[in-house]
């Protein structure tokens, strides 16, 4: 459909891998959140798990407020790992590891851990569930992290940092 609307070479430049894997994957992500919502009324994002799990080992009030959520959030995360492993075994067929260097992952992860918790959500909480709720807060949150992430990644590329 999209391929008929735009020039094939433009489509190829925008979507070199096509769009099927992205659209189908996105539908499954949404479906997972929808199943949990239907059964429990809970709107699940992924980043609260970081704080709720810390409540097992830290008495800080910031983590203890999630103590009643922490068990199901671990189950949710284990589910995410299993679901990705199903893809890994039956579609990918081999173990895959990133070439992005550990320093970038560690420092980036640190900022992701700080930012998602201060900013009230991540790509799934704001991006999928918040946008799905037509929440103005989430739409502003998504615009903010998307624009800053694009700027950062472009800068990293311009500086020649690889991989």
């Amino acid at each position: 459909m999209v391929t008929e609307l735009i020039d094939p070479s433009v489509y190829e430049a925008l979507f070199p891998e096509g769009i099927t894997r992205y659209a189908v994957g996105g539908l499954f992500v949404g479906l997972g959140a929808a199943v949990i919502y239907f059964g429990t009324g809970i709107i699940a994002g992924a980043s609260t798990f970081l704080e709720s799990t810390l409540s097992y080992v830290s008495d800080q009030s910031r983590f203890q407020r999630y103590r009643y959520d922490r068990d199901w959030r671990i189950v949710f995360t284990v589910g995410i790992i299993i679901g990705a492993a199903i893809y890994g075994v039956f579609w990918q067929g081999e173990l895959w590891t990133t070439d992005v260097q550990p320093a970038r992952l560690l420092l980036g992860g640190l900022l992701v851990g700080i930012g998602t918790r201060i900013g009230k959500g991540c790509t799934s909480g704001h991006g999928v569930c918040g946008v799905g709720s037509a929440s103005k807060t989430s739409i502003v949150g998504v615009m903010t992290f998307l624009i800053v992430a694009i700027g950062t990644a472009q800068l990293v590329m311009a500086l020649g940092v690889k991989p």
Binding site: S47, A84, R117, C122, G127, V131, S135, S138
Partner: protein, 150 residues
């Protein structure tokens, strides 16, 4: 978001959360979002497929949040009322969003995708997960002492 009793509501509560997580994680694997390289390709404008993942998923949740409350008044496994995800806006949304954006742009990984990345065998992603827990811990300690009532 859920009360103290939510886990005791039904024996099917945790199994259902697991099924939802599996679908969610499968989607992150299938869409290649579990690979930081593919997310970086989006942020560096060489493959815009990520837009279909995020907005595709948001369309599905949007339909669910819109339709399910018309079918039932409360969730079968918890008795919880159906609501939408509406968080209050303040400057934290901008400050936190910007910090998250720098981290995401640097590493190409976000929390859900990091968990999924473990599932596809990416043991190297543990660096990012260690970073995320450390970051969540630092902001939690700082905010627990600064805003005890927040």
């Amino acid at each position: 978001m859920s009360g103290p009793d939510s886990q005791a509501q039904s024996p099917l509560f945790l199994p259902l959360v697991l099924v939802g997580g599996i679908l969610f994680g499968f989607g992150l694997g299938y869409s290649h979002m579990a690979r930081p390289e593919v997310v970086l390709d989006f942020l560096q404008f060489s493959d815009f497929g990520l837009l279909f993942v995020m907005f595709g998923a948001a369309i599905v949740t949007g339909l669910a949040f819109g339709l399910i409350p018309r079918l039932r008044t409360s969730a079968p496994l918890t008795g919880q009322e159906y609501t939408r995800r509406l968080k209050s806006f303040d400057k934290n949304v901008l400050v936190g969003g910007a910090i998250f954006g720098v981290g995401w742009g640097l590493s190409g990984i976000c929390p859900g995708a990091a968990y999924a990345s473990l599932g596809i065998g990416n043991i190297t992603i543990l660096w990012a997960l260690v970073g995320m827990f450390a970051g969540a811990y630092l902001q939690g300690v700082w905010r627990s002492s600064n805003y005890s009532n927040n």
